[in-house]
């Protein structure tokens, strides 16, 4: 039986909740019953590697910052991840670092979908922008449709 894991990554800081809001929207839509595991993670660091290896497919949603409009959704295929840019650290091991590490270790699932939601500010304790909430709803719907297709 194939296993599917959905991971929404974020922190309680304004728009950085984008991944969490997407998971909330998926749960509200009743997706949980169709998947093995759905989780909200707060900066998982190296422990993300362990969450990738034992699933057949992983859908990972995180906030991203580039030069796009706030709320823009981007999908990255496994051969199309943004370039690794930062030094590894125990405090700040990022999602891309963990993915790169998992790839080197042969711990990636056979299918992995990485979604990024373009964010604006990430102030601790602040609410997410309405455009982020809308993007999370839209992405959740997109994922739900994909799973039932």
């Amino acid at each position: 039986m194939s296993t599917l894991r959905i991971l929404g990554i974020g922190s309680p800081s304004g728009d950085d909740q984008a991944g969490w809001l997407t998971v909330d929207a998926l749960l509200a839509a009743g997706v949980q019953s169709t998947v093995v595991d759905i989780q909200k993670l707060d900066r998982p660091g190296a422990s993300l590697v362990g969450l990738l290896g034992d699933a057949d497919r992983v859908i990972l949603i995180d906030a991203m910052q580039s030069d796009g409009a706030v709320g823009r959704i981007r999908h990255f295929a496994v051969d199309d991840w943004p370039a690794y840019r930062h030094g590894l650290s125990s405090h700040g091991l990022g999602v891309l670092d963990a993915l790169a590490l998992a790839r080197e270790l042969g711990s990636l699932p056979s299918r992995i979908d990485l979604y990024g939601i373009e964010i604006g500010s990430a102030n601790p304790g602040a609410l997410a922008d309405r455009r982020i909430e809308a993007a999370a709803q839209q992405l959740a719907q997109q994922i739900a449709d994909d799973l039932t297709a």
């Binding site: 900066r43 660091g45 190296a46 590697v49 650290s89 125990s90 405090h91 700040g92 590490l101 270790l105």
Partner: protein, 433 residues
């Protein structure tokens, strides 16, 4: 221009968005080090003021926020200090589970440091991703061990990051027996992996070094000191936590906002190698035998042995946690009742990076009048500067600037200070005259 006339200035500007912010200024003129200053800006300084006026029941959760890697150390030290002042006697169950909880933190912190930060240095790799190309099995093993540490912290703290399980008098809750047994079995199953980690770490070629320094660590009459014990030094000192101020001092240096600690006016070492130097006779016989097989002799005067020391402490922590969980039973209550009283409380434990000392003045309502927290990184700060100076002279100042930078990074990472999380944190400004 000859190398003798070369002037090298290494300046590291302030780092942002890392748990500990730091900077290193190094200047070499005519073959001599004329300036070497390490600046670390310690987050706990602010917490001491945050704590004033707070009720004792809030302290464990507040101090857990000082560090994302070693929150258990801050919680357990604060609890130990306040329980001593309030005359609370922990139940045998709570005493044992505090040690288990702490073992989880040692396991995760040490494993992260070895595999993500320190080991790549010794394989010519820039980071753990590069290390994973040439040593994938070892990195995988490290991540598995690290995950067990996180599981232990999660089990007693409800979450592995900034856990919330500790309360003054014990724990808020006792984990169910089924969860304990499940994790105990995983810990036991990981023991051969931890032994293999020690053997692997012992085979990594380390730069030769031989420096004289004082090791400071806690010491317990029978056990390897983690969450309880007296403060010892390699020159024979043995004191209780409340005598700390009579022997150790913190002082400001003009170049840093952090405090520098000294022991009898001298820099000193805290952390895994200091602990092993002082307490290798408290290791279980099986680990002492393993170390004898690897040829690792203690005490060591080579700070590059810090990586191996962490591996040894991972094995110890796994053994200890599994042993203590063997006898687990659900307690009648996971905490003892507490009645606050006014006075001064001191406590100390061995954080993954070394001795952690707390002092609280409390009022009769159980609120903090003032607090002092001396973290391991500020205690090691003077030793790191001393080590950098000696190591660079041993290494040779005529190496290219990049080689000097890498050597400085390696030396600093031996201490696992908060700033070590910035793997490549040295930017070189080179002046030549």
């Amino acid at each position: 221009m000859s190398e003798q006339n070369r002037t090298v200035a290494i300046h590291v500007p302030v780092l942002a968005r890392v748990e500990g912010e730091g900077a290193l200024d190094l200047r070499i003129e005519d073959g001599n080090i004329t300036q070497l200053r390490l600046r670390i800006f310690e987050p706990p300084r602010f917490f001491e003021k945050f704590l004033e006026g707070r009720h004792y029941s809030e302290i464990p959760d507040l101090v857990a926020r000082i560090c994302g890697i070693c929150p258990v150390a801050y919680q357990v030290t604060a609890a130990q200090a306040l329980e001593k002042l309030f005359g609370v006697e922990l139940s045998p169950w709570a005493q044992a589970m505090r040690r288990v909880f702490y073992c989880g933190e040692w396991i995760q912190s040490h494993s992260l440091h070895i595999h993500l930060l320190a080991a790549p240095d010794f394989f010519g790799c820039g980071n753990a991703i590069e290390l994973a190309k040439i040593a994938p099995d070892e990195v995988r093993r490290g991540l598995r061990i690290q995950a067990l540490g996180n599981e232990l912290m999660d089990l007693f703290g409800a979450r592995s990051v900034h856990p919330v399980g500790v309360r003054i008098g014990g724990f808020h809750a006792a984990p169910a027996l089924s969860r304990i047994r499940d994790l105990r079995d995983k810990l036991r199953a990981a023991l051969p992996e931890a032994e293999a980690l020690v053997r692997w770490a012992a085979r990594i070629p380390m730069p030769p070094d031989d420096q004289a320094f004082v090791s400071v660590a806690m010491r317990h009459p029978t056990a390897y000191a983690i969450e309880t014990g007296a403060i010892a030094a390699s020159d024979g000192l043995l004191i209780e936590a409340d005598a700390y101020d009579a022997h150790f001092a913190e002082q400001h240096e003009p170049h840093s906002t952090a405090l520098f600690s000294t022991y009898h006016q001298q820099p000193y070492l805290v952390g895994p190698l200091a602990r092993l130097n002082l307490n290798h006779d408290r290791l279980p016989v099986s680990i002492q035998t393993l170390l004898a097989e690897t040829g690792f002799t203690l005490p060591s005067r080579n700070l590059f042995h810090s990586l191996l020391a962490r591996a040894v402490e991972i094995l110890l922590a796994l053994q200890e946690a599994a042993r203590l969980l063997d006898d687990y039973t659900l307690p009648d209550s996971p905490w003892a009742p507490v009645t606050p009283r006014a006075g001064v409380a001191t406590g100390c434990t061995e954080a993954p990076r070394g001795l952690l000392w707390h002092r609280y003045e409390m009022d009769a309502d159980g609120r903090v009048v003032n607090a002092r927290i001396v973290p391991p990184t500020s205690q090691n700060q003077g030793r790191i500067e001393q080590d950098l100076r000696l190591s660079l002279l041993n290494f040779g100042l005529d190496h290219p600037d990049d080689a000097l930078r890498l050597h400085c990074e390696k030396v600093i990472r031996n201490y696992d200070p908060c700033i070590s999380c910035a793997t490549h944190f040295l930017r070189l400004n080179v002046e030549r005259t």
